[in-house]
């Protein structure tokens, strides 16, 4: 029942958005703007463009999405490792956490030319940026999760003479699971943005390249920009949904617990 209700809600939202969109596009056209079709094209015009160039769009989507996913997993691994190390000793956390935080102060778009000059390979730059964006969020989320265990639980483990590895495996990691997933839910769409950013700046292919190409070529290709935008948007949502789907399978009790609390 709630499934039907949720589907209905989504349908209503989509209908409203499309309605507003059509209205906007119509008004812009009616105002006499000669390139209204490029500034705000009708949704069906975008769909037509995609169907007319399926190869280009699919290839670009695959190129960006696959690097984003790979970068995401690299970021997940490195972030998880960092957080695990930091939770082993307060000194490590104090020494490294400020730099992890500082890494986010760098405008990441400026990193693209720098990393391209260093890594040369655009593929690697894409991976680097996608993982760079993910890494920070995951490190902070995992660290918070690993530290979320209460003092008595640690004392319980100490009373059982459990070693560091056992404490991590039996207590800290399972306790961190909800934190890790909420970090992943935020990081997954961002890894996509990281990958697109590289396309935009270094312009070799991918969804970002599609966006730039449309702008460079002119109004005639503007529908492609809109198509790329919508695909990126859809992929972002898809990534976040996949994370939630996996979490439901990994820790179903967590959802039951939240429902009961609500």
């Amino acid at each position: 029942m709630s499934g039907v209700g949720a589907a209905l809600k989504v349908a209503v939202v989509i209908a409203v958005v499309l309605g507003v969109w059509y209205l906007g596009a119509f008004l812009l056209e009616a105002s006499g703007d000669r390139i209204a079709y490029a500034k705000l094209p009708y949704p069906h015009a975008i769909l037509e463009k995609v169907l007319a160039n399926p190869g280009t769009v699919l290839e670009a989507t695959w190129e960006t999405a696959s690097r984003a996913v790979l970068g995401f997993f690299i970021g997940l691994f490195v972030g998880g490792l960092f957080a695990t190390l930091m939770v082993q000793a307060r000194a490590l956390e104090v020494a490294f956490l400020p730099y992890v935080l500082a890494s986010q102060m760098v405008p990441i778009i400026a990193l693209v030319p720098i990393m391209r000059a260093i890594l040369r390979e655009p593929e690697l730059v894409r991976l680097y940026l996608a993982s760079y964006v993910t890494f920070f969020i995951i490190t902070v989320a995992v660290l918070r999760g690993l530290k979320s265990v209460d003092r008595n639980a640690l004392e319980l483990m100490a009373s059982l003479n459990a070693g560091r590895a056992t404490v991590l495996r039996a207590l800290r990691f399972p306790a961190a699971v909800p934190y890790i997933f909420s970090g992943m839910r935020i990081a997954a769409p961002l890894s996509l943005i990281g990958a697109i950013l590289v396309d935009l700046v270094s312009g070799q292919g991918g969804l970002g390249y599609l966006m730039v190409a449309a702008v460079v070529v002119g109004p005639s290709q503007a529908t492609l920009l809109w198509a790329a935008l919508l695909i990126a948007f859809g992929l972002g949502i898809l990534f976040a949904r996949i994370v939630v789907w996996v979490e439901r399978r990994v820790s179903p009790w967590q959802f039951a617990m939240r429902e009961q609390a609500a």
């Binding site: 209460d150 008595n152 639980a153 004392e155 319980l156 483990m157 100490a158 009373s159 059982l160 003479n161 459990a162 056992t166 039996a170 207590l171 399972p174 306790a175 699971v177 820790s251 009790w253 967590q254 039951a256 617990m257 009961q260």
Partner: protein
């Protein structure tokens, strides 16, 4: 002092008490078993927490817990009872004096997994079922699978949770969660059960029932020595062979009272005059202790 010497020490603390003990001949009370070896000896223990401002939590605390007995520590909040439990459990070190557990240092006893601990909150692992929570110590100590399964079902029966073995903690009431915590603490058969206000977060009715349950569980794990922390006077009397009454911070021992009420502690015993007198005595002691610091 060697282990032998610790065990040789007499249990009765002063001649007056010894004389008084002679007059009682209840079944299974401390007074009947004066030769019982000492399991936990706390000798002139001080504990100071140093920080921005150092706090003296405990001051020359001394008492003994004989093997296989139930000893309660009672005192106002913040009197260092929990601190004392942590010291005995080898989770924290004394600043002065010493503690001997079965002839060895508490930290060494902890490494040898001599303590089952129950805290005020159940500290169950949300991601584990009741069975898996009870099994935790057995898994950590690397017992074989068959033994774990057998022990878990024995303990689930003992604490009356056979039908809830596959449930997750969030599906249980507070009292049931605390039963799981007790089962977990006993699962690996530790010689000591340390309980830090285990029923403090429960409502009065559940609390009463849990105390009787604990007595039943304890009587089916013979030889287990219990150190129990509470701020409920009737609870301490009902459960214990001996009650150590403590003062407000810095925690000192005001009096050690042996509870020579017969066991099992039935409803009759709880309603007896002796029970009432002990209750009054302990209440007065606590009040005086409170007044003494003002």
């Amino acid at each position: 002092m060697t282990a032998d010497k610790v065990e040789d020490r007499a249990l009765i603390l002063d001649p007056e008490e010894a004389a008084a003990a002679q007059h009682h001949h209840h079944h299974e009370t401390l007074a009947d078993r004066p030769g019982l070896p000492i399991a936990i000896a706390v000798e002139g223990v001080d504990k100071v927490f140093t920080g921005k401002r150092s706090v003296k939590a405990l001051e020359s605390v001394s008492f003994d817990i004989p093997v296989g007995t139930f000893v309660s520590l009672i005192g106002p909040s913040g009197c260092g009872k929990s601190t004392l439990l942590r010291l005995v459990a080898g989770l924290s070190a004394v600043t002065g004096g010493r503690i001997v557990v079965n002839g060895i240092d508490p930290a060494e006893a902890r490494r040898r997994r001599q303590f089952g601990i129950v805290f005020q909150s159940p500290v169950l692992f949300d991601w584990r079922t009741v069975a898996a929570n009870i099994a935790l110590p057995l898994q950590i100590t690397g017992r074989p699978r068959a033994e774990i399964d057998r022990r878990v079902s024995e303990l689930a029966d003992l604490v009356g949770l056979r039908d809830f073995i596959g449930h997750h903690p969030y599906e249980l009431s507070g009292g049931m969660q605390q039963r799981v915590a007790i089962a977990r603490a006993l699962s690996f058969g530790p010689p000591f059960l340390l309980m830090d206000e285990p029923f403090g977060a429960l409502d009065m009715i559940t609390r009463d029932r849990m105390a009787s349950e604990l007595l039943r569980i304890w009587s089916s794990t013979p030889g287990t020595t219990v150190m129990f922390i509470t701020h409920s006077i009737p609870e301490a009397i009902l459960l214990s062979d001996r009650v150590v009454v403590m003062s407000p911070r810095p925690g000192r021992v005001l009096r050690i009272v042996d509870i020579d009420l017969p066991r099992p502690r039935t409803e009759e015993v709880r309603e007896s005059r002796a029970f009432y007198e002990l209750d009054t005595e302990l209440r007065r002691l606590l009040l005086e202790g409170e007044a003494g610091t003002r």
